[in-house]
């Protein structure tokens, strides 16, 4: 009986060797979205969702929501049109987009796909494609799992030891790590910002995403130029992002030939949905 079980275990092992054929295909499909936080543990979809909800709740305790359902629906339609062309269209509870009632020009994304854009950006945008450009940049941060990378690696190592049973964390210890992880992310989104490399990647990938969805990638350049205009007046746009002038330079360099786009329907629905 024991030998039989050993043989079965060997079969399981062989099966596990066979699985990577499928896993390889799966990983190809999910290229670039795997993340090992710190060195000890992988954050799964469900965990990302719950930490994302807490980060969003923390942001919403500081910035009020603009509960304009017409505008919110319009943003969600633009956002979903973009998301479906990304490498990560399916996330735990789907992507959600909302407007913060703030005249500051800003946008940020919580883990798990809750994306905020400020009323200041809506005021600044001249058309649907410019709003899509801002959302595409934030979607790319979610696809790249940049918000999760803001969690201090030491925290993830400690949680990893709890999860592996190497140490026992009390309920309050685990709750404190959860809260501190939320603050790591909120602090990065609202103040510290991502690295320049992460921002540049998000900008360049956003241009590809815009093109894939049928939006004009040059819209990212035009909205950034507007931000540069604001910054010349000594008012910082996108407080946790690099200076708009630097972003304009590399976006301009990466732009290809502008596609011919019929904007009539988009312009009409933009005017209908965005009241200033």
């Amino acid at each position: 009986m024991k030998k039989l079980l050993q043989l079965l275990c060997l079969c399981q092992f062989l099966a596990a060797i066979k699985i990577p054929i499928t896993l390889g295909q799966l990983n190809k499909a999910k290229k670039g979205v795997e993340l090992v936080a710190g060195t000890t543990h992988t954050i799964n979809e469900e965990e990302e969702y719950y930490i994302g909800r807490a980060v969003a709740a923390n942001i919403l305790s500081q910035y009020p929501l603009w509960k304009n359902q017409t505008l919110c629906r319009y943003l969600n339609l633009i956002g979903k049109a973009l998301v479906l062309k990304s490498e990560r269209p399916e996330i735990f509870a789907g992507y959600h987009f909302a407007v913060l009632d703030s005249r500051e020009a800003n946008a940020f994304s919580a883990p798990g796909g809750i994306i905020f854009i400020s009323r200041g950006i809506i005021d600044m945008a001249g058309n649907e494609d410019e709003i899509a450009a801002i959302l595409a940049h934030e979607i790319r941060h979610v696809v790249n799992k940049d918000p999760l990378k803001a969690i201090k690696s030491q925290r993830m190592k400690t949680l990893g030891t709890f999860a592996a049973g190497e140490a026992i964390g009390s309920g309050s210890e685990v709750l404190n790590i959860f809260k501190d992880s939320v603050l790591d992310i909120s602090g990065t989104l609202l103040q510290k910002g991502y690295s320049r490399g992460q921002e540049k990647d998000a900008d360049l990938q956003a241009m590809d995403l815009l093109a894939a969805a049928g939006y004009n990638p040059a819209a990212l350049l035009t909205i950034l130029e507007k931000c540069r205009g604001i910054e010349k007046k000594k008012t910082k746009a996108f407080s946790a992002h690099p200076a708009a002038a630097k972003r304009v330079a590399y976006v301009e360099e990466a732009l290809g030939k502008a596609p011919a786009i019929d904007m009539s329907v988009r312009n009409a629905r933009f005017s209908k949905s965005v009241s200033r």
């Binding site: 499909a29 719950y50 339609l77 990560r88």
Partner: protein
């Protein structure tokens, strides 16, 4: 008798793993589409944890068959390659899966969200409002077509 039942279960699981073609839905609701395109007809919504038999890969999509024998396409981002953990069904072992234990230990879960609710630093009612503003894929399809998007 009990040993025989365990052995049979073990054999069945081994056969399943040897096929090497089972993936698990890792999102709350995955869409089973008629074509490898979110704007094609939606055949069914598949719940988290469902096992899907992979028939073939097509780019970022998988042609799958669900437990009811329904075939369709699911995007790879909705699937996890964990397969089926044997730890929960191996003879003598019971209780939560390794994944459930890891999630509970890490605390990024609903239980700890409940502990934060009511605190001034977290406005979960506003988050719930945001989550309620979802749009359906058919509406996105209309939006894409009308706006001459792709």
């Amino acid at each position: 008798m009990k040993k025989k039942a365990c052995l049979l279960a073990f054999l069945a699981m081994t056969a399943l793993l040897l096929a090497g073609k089972v993936l698990v839905v890792q999102v709350l609701h995955a869409q089973l589409m008629a074509k490898p395109d979110f704007l094609s007809s939606n055949l069914a919504t598949i719940q988290k944890g469902a096992c899907l038999e992979i028939i073939e890969a097509k780019g970022s999509w998988f042609l799958v068959k669900n437990a009811d024998g329904l075939k369709g396409y699911v995007h790879g981002s909705a699937l996890a390659g964990r397969g089926i953990s044997l730890s929960g069904i191996a003879p003598g072992k019971k209780g939560a899966s390794e994944e459930e234990l890891a999630l509970a230990a890490k605390g990024f879960n609903e239980g700890n969200e409940r502990k934060l609710r009511g605190s001034r630093e977290y406005d979960f009612s506003a988050v719930d409002w945001v989550m309620a503003q979802a749009v359906a894929n058919p509406d996105v399809g209309d939006f894409v077509r009308e706006g001459k998007l792709k």
